[in-house]
């Protein structure tokens, strides 16, 4: 069953075996696995329950309902990096692009070296990936879903001799509606809203929506649940206090909200790593404008990725967005904006993703705000400039007549010579316009309390009964879309709890 704000006047204290805070890639997966194994599972979700039938193509309605803080979220630093994450049943999986890349082998080798555990290596993780991929239906797209922006990117890379990888996505019979960012309107994208969460519900789990957890309940040095406040969905004011008593509490709020909650209790002390090691795969958007109509809004987003420069930590992909989002990102206004948006049908939106070479931090700010801080390095800045030049080359090779560049002081170019001239002027990191959706690494997993926040089973070293199962666990950046890795690690956390069922249930 799903409970919402109105329900908490009647009941505000709950008792459960497992409390899962969050319903996204981590929360959905760990909760569903445990519910299927017979645990009494209670999810708590800060957002509301918005089923597929309520999705529509309008930003003014989708963004407030589905995105944290109505999308007004920024990582502070040089430059500032806007980011988005989901706040709805299903979490960010409801609004992401649905890529299902496994963690690359070289990253897993590093994780194995860092943790000293084969479980974190290729062999240890492969069965988890297989299981997750089966549940979310990771597969290649049907040909009827492929649109012209995807064809341009893949064929452009082919012409330039660059390696292209066709993406697998978590989808069942996706037909390329290309509205992933506002919730899949066909139900094809297998977000946790339509994959893990229904499974959990069928196994008897319940979900308390519209509750924000403020603190963990700690008794005798052990976590025995959490306390939150209901949030009125109409006024957004705080309502009744909600208490959930649990034998194990799994925090799955993502790489920003998870450390925010745990830092309240000054946890992670042995290593000092809680809230550190913040990774975000910053990316820059580049829009190619073509002489003819491309109609890129028809057809799946990110059919493929250009992997030629993966060794240098660069990845390119098309990533089409609705006109409202495009208008928000173009540094123009008035009739100039209309003139550009009239070429919406001629545009191909693409992105340069850079694998992190540095880390940031997450700390607790005032008024319930988490403060994320991240400064890109000069090396990353150079890589962005290189990525922008390469991606511009692809667009002009495919016949684009101009490109919109991610530099707020000089945003347009109509030839490669002009692109190079503009890039040569980009000496400051401040003029680079970045964006991200991949937030990772703030409660890293590891083999010792001196080097990590949680153990290899996801349990906090300094708070028995409290676990983490989300992107916070990543010891390093992974260089690809993190959804499947999060689900796989959450499945590992669930497996460990299942193995320890007796002691978990006897606890508290």
């Amino acid at each position: 069953m799903i409970l919402r704000y109105e329900d908490y006047d009647r009941q505000s204290v709950f008792t459960t075996d497992i409390l899962v805070i969050g319903t996204g890639a981590g929360g959905g997966a760990v909760g569903a696995e445990l519910a299927a194994d017979g645990f009494d599972v209670t999810f708590v979700e800060e957002g509301s329950y918005h089923p597929t039938s309520t999705f529509n193509p309008y930003a003014t309605e989708s963004v407030p309902r589905l995105y944290r803080d109505s999308g007004a979220t920024v990582i502070m630093g040089t430059p500032q990096i806007p980011f988005v994450e989901g706040r709805t049943v299903g979490g960010t999986t409801v609004i992401n692009g649905g890529m299902t890349y496994r963690t690359p082998d070289d990253v897993l080798d590093t994780w194995q070296d860092l943790t000293g555990s084969p479980e974190m290596g290729v062999e240890g993780m492969t069965p988890l990936f297989e299981r997750v991929e089966g549940i979310v239906h990771a597969k290649h797209q049907h040909e009827a879903s492929v649109g012209n922006d995807s064809r341009i990117m893949a064929q452009g890379a082919e012409r330039l001799g660059w390696k292209v990888e066709i993406n697998k996505r978590n989808q069942e019979s996706c037909t390329g509606a290309n509205l992933c960012v506002f919730g899949c309107p066909t139900g094809a994208k297998q977000s946790t809203l339509v994959s893990y969460m229904p499974r959990a519900m069928k196994s008897g789990a319940r979900c308390l929506t519209e509750v924000r957890i403020h603190k963990l309940l700690i008794r005798g040095g052990r976590c025995v649940g959490a306390v939150g406040r209901a949030i009125d969905p109409i006024t957004r004011r705080r309502g009744p206090r909600v208490v959930i008593k649990a034998k194990a509490t799994i925090v799955c709020g993502g790489a920003i909200q998870t450390p925010y909650l745990l830092k309240r209790h000054r946890l992670g002390k042995p290593s000092g790593q809680l809230g550190r090691n913040f990774l975000c795969h910053p990316n820059a958007k580049l829009i190619g404008f073509y002489p003819g109509r491309v109609n890129a809004w028809q057809g799946v987003s990110q059919y493929s990725q250009v992997r030629e420069f993966h060794d240098e930590g660069l990845l390119f992909a098309e990533n089409f967005i609705p006109p409202s989002a495009m208008a928000a990102n173009l540094p123009v206004f008035g009739d100039r904006a209309l003139e550009l948006l009239k070429r919406y049908d001629n545009a191909v939106v693409s992105g340069v993703l850079v694998e992190d070479s540095t880390t940031g931090t997450v700390s607790r700010g005032p008024f319930g705000m988490a403060i994320a801080r991240y400064d890109i390095t000069h090396q990353d800045h150079s890589r962005f400039l290189k990525g922008v030049e390469l991606l511009s080359t692809l667009h002009f090779e495919m016949g684009a007549d101009s490109v919109a560049l991610p530099f707020h002081d000089q945003p347009f170019a109509s030839s490669m010579d002009e692109v190079r001239r503009i890039i040569a002027t980009q000496t400051s990191r401040h003029t680079l316009e970045l964006f991200t959706v991949h937030l990772m690494g703030t409660a890293r997993m590891g083999a010792t309390p001196e080097s990590s926040v949680v153990d290899l089973g996801g349990q906090l070293w300094d708070l028995p009964g409290a676990y983490v199962a989300d992107a916070s666990l990543f010891p390093t950046a992974i260089g690809v879309n993190p959804q499947i890795t999060i689900m796989a690690l959450a499945t590992r956390v669930a497996a460990r709890l299942i193995e320890a069922r007796g002691s978990v249930l006897a606890a508290a």
Partner: protein, 211 residues
């Protein structure tokens, strides 16, 4: 009232026809699938699905209307654009952290005063003709001060994204997502039922690229 999980969520979970590594899913009859697709309509401005807009003083609204008039294109017939955009933005503010929403109010105030602190006029932005107000924004957009850039980015992003989310703006740029989305829903329904896609279902390739 306790809300049982709605059936359309469950029917969305169409299992793959591929073999799952372990039979953890439950097969849901595909004939019930149709209930799991989106309605696509705009939501009525009542009820619980969207929060109530935050309050804003009449003076704050006039300042915001001045900013909106300066930012939105004149080439789209939307006479009530300031009122509509203001209402949407006030609703979005309801979802933002209190500090961010407060910062947005400060941005509106500061930009309204921009003609004065830029030395361009003794009047506030709201009192300037649209063309003159746009000159103020042009000046602001060339600022190298990070705070000014951030303010401009936030206000411009909110106003422009809201404007280009309206039906009139969609029509002006030739964007009509609903018929396409309905077609895709129907196609998916057919694929789930086991029918293949016809040639007409492929998205037509443009000249110069292969299908």
């Amino acid at each position: 009232m306790t809300q049982a999980i709605e059936p359309h969520v469950l029917v969305d979970a169409i299992p793959s026809r591929d073999h799952l590594p372990e039979p953890v899913g439950r097969y849901i009859a595909p004939e019930t699938f149709g209930k799991g697709t989106a309605g696509l309509e705009r939501h009525p401005d009542v009820g619980r699905s969207l929060a109530r807009p935050v309050a804003m003083s009449p003076s704050g609204r006039r300042a915001f209307h001045g900013i909106i008039r300066a930012l939105v294109p004149t080439g789209v017939d939307m006479p009530d654009a300031p009122q509509r955009i203001e209402r949407h933005v006030r609703r979005m503010m309801r979802y933002m952290p209190i500090l961010v929403a407060f910062g947005l109010r400060l941005c509106i105030f500061a930009i309204d005063q921009a003609p004065r602190w830029l030395g361009m006029s003794t009047r506030r932005l709201r009192g300037l003709p649209v063309e003159r107000a746009r000159e103020v924004f042009e000046r602001l957009s060339h600022s190298r001060i990070v705070l000014v850039q951030t303010m401009l980015y936030a206000i411009r992003g909110l106003v422009m994204s809201t404007f280009f989310d309206q039906d009139e703006a969609h029509e002006a740029i030739g964007y009509a997502p609903v018929p396409f989305l309905r077609g895709r829903q129907t196609l998916r329904h057919r694929l789930i039922e086991g029918a293949g896609a016809a040639d007409a279902d492929l998205i037509p390739a443009i000249p110069g690229v292969r299908p």
